[in-house]
Amino acid sequence: MNIGVYVCHCGTNIAGVIDVEKVTEYATTLDGVVVARNYKYMCSDPGKDLIRSDIKENNLDRVVVAACSPTMHEKTYRDVMEEMGGNPFLFEMANIREQDSWVHTDKDMATEKAYDLVRMAVAKVRRNEPLERIEIPVTQRALIIGGGVAGMEASLDLAEQGYEVIMVEKEQSIGGHMSQLTKTFPTLDCPMCILAPKMALHEHKNITIYSFSEIEEVSGYVGNFEVSIRKKAKSVIEDLCNGCGLCQEKCPTKVLSVYDGKLGTRKAIYTLFPQAVPRIPVLDRENCLMFTKGTCGVCKKVCPTDAIDYDQQDEIITEKVGAIIVATGYAEYDPTPIEEYGYGRYKNVLTGLQFERLTNASGPTLGVLKRPSDGATPKRFAFIQCVGSRDVNTQEYCSKVCCMYTVKNARLLRDEHPESEVYIFYTDVRSAGKGYEEFYKISQEKGVKFIRGRVSEVVGLPDDNLLLRTEDTLTGDVYEVEVDMAILACALLPAEGSDKLRDILKISEGTDGFFMEAHPKLRPVDTLTDGIYLAGCAQGPRDIADTVVHAKGAASGASVLISHTKMSLDPISAYSDESVCRGCGECKLVCQFGAIEIEPLNGRLIAKVNEVLCKGCGACVGACCNGAMSIRHFKDEQINSMIEAAMEVA
């Protein structure tokens, strides 16, 4: 057994705290170690060359690298082992960066800890066994959850590469929040006009859309997911409906439209917006007279294709995919709890999205500016920034898009209504992005008044006007201004239902509630679960341009996976010693993946593990009463050797 130990300086990240020379010297005293070296950057080519040449010259068969977290570079070094004809599992990493030099300041104690961590890794590698990777097939299809701009972009990129794409959208139309907006910064183009060509993806031969549908269950694993989708009853037979719209025209029931920010109404049978895709309406059973009173039937009577079906049931559809992209977008923060802003109490206090609908040509007022309270034309506007963002009482993070969309709306007001007075009450104006600062400049030149300060109070006046009080933190003056309308730049929150989806997918969320990426810089579209990727605001607030980039990244990640027909899995799986197993089935009880079957063998029962289904958690090993069950790479003697090494004194 010839073990090589390599201690990385990681520049000064490790060497600045830990005495790498001493650790290297110490490593040579350990049983089985024939060579120990240190180097500035072990993961660089010259660093890896040191290992390569030692494998050749010193006949190394096992290697320990003391460096960063294995999440970072375990694969790098396993690949070196493999390339040199060795077995990638005769390798261990001692994490002396994230779990040592970066968290400790006492140099002696950190160095002493590094001795222990290296000793533990050497003890473990000594007991490692060569393992062969398990080869599994890959389903060359992808599931995209969410049909906003992120989901659309990712779907198109994959479909254009020839992969079949299943898109699941919870609303009845794809388009997402982008379809609600008036104009987009910094180009001031119409979102629907730039979105429509993408929404034509429903005609793509490789894309299947399930709208008004939700993910019910996901089983399987990377390359081989099985997804059940609940296709909720639309009460409309999709194959028959021709989207003529007669049903919604004739429907007698009006309901406040959530899509329009409750500033307008829709019918009980409705499409979200005129350009909806698919153009199939959905019957809202909570408000339809047929369901609430048992009488009406107008839609059924007028439908020329007899597409209305009041008895339609939810349908469960199963699809097999190799990769999943989560593109569930965001939800707008409801500012009601911030009582001083009077949202919900004063009708002329709106959220950002409501204002987008109010100014949208296909919105509730067809783009004509009207105050919700009395229909009068507002002339004085106040935009209040950071509502629910950058605030320890609500969300600490910056929602990133609010500065620019407010500047956009303010500029549009000055452009289209030059007589209007427009104030922006801001914390900081964050206009980083190509063309953004220039756009902000232009809005200043156009006469938008920027006042630095958090509004302390919005007071409703008898004529429905609003009085705002704030301090101008640049001049120190107390500032009062009367306006006709106030618009709150509300925070972006994780989309509704994110918690449920997180449970279904078994992915993590960050402290901000958004889904968590595998690495903030280097793996921004991956999750920690292989085969599941993130696109757009599902991972955190970002604007349309950044969302498209992120979605393209996620599509690229997914296609790297599904472009193969086969892939290999780490062989960290459980196995039972048939000579000891008594077939009691305790292991099967704790296995969450159905990987264990109790089978007859020579007239008695034994447990048998399906290596492909086994995920390697090891719960069965702990449940086994007589030591028959074991798990590769984490066997009892391997873990015990690390405990023993930890307790030895250097």
Binding site: E98, S508, Q592, G618, A619, I631, I643, E644
Partner: protein, 135 residues
């Protein structure tokens, strides 16, 4: 002599949380020796006893929050086994405070650092394990 603590961290949540504590340059006392396993459900009472028997002053097992286990319910197995081992420690006359189970997610770097700081402080108050040096 400084107390020594063996920590078993699952790969998906708590070890990632430990890494995040590092990436965020949070500080905690250097008394912890982390053994990374796939899941807290892998931890057997015998490992805990083995560490204590060899003189560990404390053992801490960390996993994903209940309901968040990467393997669905491995952390529930961990919970059962730690409860069982706690009883065993009481019977053996070992202060059960020397064994701790904590849920730390991949995004809780700060929590990892504070849990470890707290545990090290508690162990320092308890003093060295009576089993220290038995082996």
């Amino acid at each position: 002599m400084e107390p020594k603590i063996v920590a078993f961290c699952c790969k998906w949540c708590s070890s990632a949380g430990a890494d995040l504590a590092g990436t965020s340059r949070m500080k905690y006392p250097p008394n912890i020796r982390i053994i990374r396993v796939m899941c807290s459900g892998r931890i057997e009472p015998s490992y805990i006893l083995h560490a204590l028997e060899l003189g560990a002053d404390g053992v801490i097992i960390t996993g994903c929050h209940l309901g968040d286990c990467h393997y669905i319910a491995g952390n529930e197995q961990a919970k059962k086994r730690v409860e069982m081992t706690t009883e065993l420690l009481e019977t053996m006359g070992i202060d059960p405070r020397r064994l701790r189970l904590e849920w730390i997610s991949a995004s809780e770097g700060a929590r990892f650092a504070s849990v470890m700081t707290d545990f090290v402080e508690e162990i320092k108050e308890l003093g060295h394990s009576p089993l220290g040096g038995v082996s």
